[in-house]
């Protein structure tokens, strides 16, 4: 297998069909990706697989015990069987065959971290097409990489925050979080003045007129640590820090063990206990593979500094929504950026600095 540059077995359902019925493969284009094309693309790619195993090899050339082997085989067999039935079935139409083809290729794709740009584009195309086939709606998904000379950082002014929670609303809408479990990445803690940061005594789910007398407000979310403990503990390397400092998750590689959730000292990570549900008309269709694309049951998710926005030069949704200007976001490497001015001119601090996690999220006061 390893001398084959393809990273997974292609079923080539549409291809087989072409041979049988002799209809031109170009028709497959209108239906999105066809097996022929992906084969061509991957054939041309020179992937340096010498150093690390990737894709198909990652899955199959691995030492495992009988139990895991059986588990993996069953899962793959189920999908394979599904694909074969749809491909062989006379009744099923082109669409379901294409769906099966996409599912197959998605099942055996590699870790996003190891993908070439071409492969990233292919998986994004497949996900867009898959969504289109399932819902009839077109989404816009990208796989933009981190840019050189960019390191994202965030500052939060605790004397400005009034606890309005507009940021939480904007975040949920932007990032397609599960509406059923009312998942939210941001927590706003209402703290009593004169008591310091007592997170155990603070209320993060208040409902009264704010700002309340004698209280101040402090927001927490994923701090995108420069030395992230959550990344270290992930057994499958489904989470990592990108070059621009954003800690991301490959939702398709995550096995849902929740080690990262336990390792995070800031309660920054969330788990999907059930299939996330977002009403169709509320789905944010501007998505990024590592950001706000639809998640599934049993995977972790968290704030990504709105990677789908920030890599395009926009502010994260929470920064945009804040009516008091308590949230400041920018490029830490740009000496003229406002975030750098805050770090250099205001008295800043971070939470649990002694842990050495080096969060890129600073707090300051007027």
């Amino acid at each position: 297998m390893s001398n084959n540059s393809k990273k997974w077995f292609s079923l080539n359902l549409s291809n087989t069909k072409t041979q049988v019925h002799n209809t031109s493969c170009k028709c497959g284009k209108s239906l999105g990706k066809c097996g022929d094309h992906s084969e061509e693309n991957q054939g041309n790619d020179k992937v340096d697989t010498e150093d690390h195993k990737d894709g198909f090899d990652q899955v199959f050339e691995v030492q495992m015990n009988r139990r895991t082997a059986f588990k993996k085989l069953t899962a793959s067999l189920l999908i394979g069987a599904g694909a074969v039935t749809t491909s062989c079935s006379v009744i099923s139409d082109d669409k379901s065959k294409e769906k099966a083809q996409i599912d197959w290729e998605e099942q055996f794709k590699g870790n996003y971290k190891l993908m070439t740009d071409e492969e990233k584009k292919n998986t994004v195309d497949r996900l867009v097409r898959s969504y289109q086939l399932r819902t009839g709606k077109t989404i816009n998904m990208t796989s933009e990489n981190a840019e050189e000379n960019v390191l994202f950082g965030y500052a939060f002014n605790i004397s400005k925050c009034n606890g309005y929670m507009d940021c939480v609303n904007a975040c949920v809408e932007e990032n397609n979080q599960d509406r059923n479990s009312q998942m939210q990445y941001i927590r706003i803690h209402e703290m009593e003045e004169g008591k310091g940061f007592k997170f155990d005594e603070a209320d993060d789910n208040y409902y009264h007129e704010v700002p309340a007398e004698g209280h101040f407000y402090m927001g927490t979310q994923c701090f995108h640590c420069d030395n992230p403990p959550c990344v270290d503990v992930c057994p499958v390397q489904a989470t990592w820090q990108e070059e621009d400092g954003i800690v991301v998750i490959d939702y398709d590689w995550c096995v849902g063990c929740r080690y990262c959730m336990a390792a995070c000292p800031y309660d920054g990570r969330r788990f999907n206990w059930s299939t996330p549900e977002v009403p169709e008309d509320e789905v944010n269709k501007n998505q990024h593979y590592l950001g706000n694309r639809m998640r599934k049951k049993g995977v972790m998710e968290k704030c990504t500094f709105c990677v789908q926005r920030s890599r395009k030069g926009k502010n994260p949704a929470c920064v945009d929504a804040c009516p008091t200007g308590a949230r400041i976001f920018g490029n830490l490497l740009d000496p003229n950026s406002t975030i750098r001015w805050v770090l250099e001119n205001k008295k800043v601090f971070r939470l649990k600095e002694d842990l050495g996690t080096e969060p890129k999220f600073w707090y300051f006061m007027d």
């Binding site: 840019e147 050189e148 000379n149 960019v150 390191l151 500052a155 002014n157 400005k160 009034n162 606890g163 309005y164 929670m165 939480v168 609303n169 059923n180 479990s181 009312q182 939210q184 706003i188 789910n205 208040y206 409902y207 009264h208 007129e209 704010v210 700002p211 420069d226 030395n227 270290d232 395009k312 030069g313 926009k314 502010n315 920064v319 804040c322 009516p323 008091t324 200007g325 400041i328 976001f329 920018g330 490029n331 830490l332 490497l333 740009d334 000496p335 003229n336 950026s337 406002t338 975030i339 750098r340 001015w341 805050v342 770090l343 001119n345 205001k346 080096e358 890129k360 300051f364 007027d366």
Partner: protein
């Protein structure tokens, strides 16, 4: 010889332990400092988002940035469209309508501020400083800066006030009056825009168990 060997191995151990976590830098501050030495501008720009907005460029101290144009946003500007005569002649005349009845000054003490602290009765199309200098309505922040000096410093640097669009250069920041009503500048109390009922349920269940 033996001592030497122990020393070398000790040194080796120390070196290894310093390289803990394979971290290149000791702290994020070091990383920022080192990596921004050779900083050159990125291709990311917020120019496209700012294109449709009317902005003016200002330079205050060492900071140069864009702020939103103001005069076109004021409904009743220019003032001389109504105030055709000097204020003294308009006041008290029998046919005068009560103007600006909706504006009630809720800014500082009446002993400190009244209308004429910022407005000039003889030149209503311009604002005026405490010392009587003319200020364009677009540069109203100069008036605020007369008293709110620390806020002004923070605003210039970018710690106070929102950015207009993205984080990427060119920098465009809101000016004072985009968030604060100059006649009533404080933020009002209101209800939070969200309440998490699920969290309440989960926490109640936790208490029961």
């Amino acid at each position: 010889m033996k001592n030497n060997l122990i020393f070398i191995s000790l040194l080796f151990c120390v070196c290894i332990s310093c390289k803990k976590n394979n971290a290149e830098y000791h702290s994020i501050t070091d990383k920022i400092h080192d990596k921004s030495k050779n900083y050159h501008e990125t291709s990311i720009s917020s120019e496209a988002y700012l294109q449709e907005l009317e902005l003016i460029k200002i330079t205050e101290g060492e900071h140069t940035f864009l702020i939103p144009e103001r005069k076109k946003q004021i409904k009743s500007f220019a003032c001389t469209e109504c105030h055709s005569k000097p204020l003294s002649e308009m006041q008290g005349s029998s046919d005068s309508k009560k103007a600006h009845w909706d504006i009630k000054l809720m800014h500082a003490d009446t002993g400190v501020m009244n209308c004429t602290t910022c407005h000039n009765g003889n030149d209503m199309d311009h604002l005026t400083t405490i010392t009587g200098n003319k200020v364009d309505f677009n540069n109203s922040y100069t008036l605020c800066a007369q008293c709110h000096t620390s806020q002004f410093e923070d605003w210039k640097g970018g710690a106070h006030g929102k950015k207009v669009e993205g984080w990427a250069p060119p920098r465009a920041s809101m000016t004072c009056v985009n968030c604060h009503n100059p006649h009533n500048p404080s933020f009002k109390t209101r209800w939070p825009s969200r309440f998490n009922t699920q969290k309440v349920k989960e926490r109640n269940e936790e208490l029961v168990h």
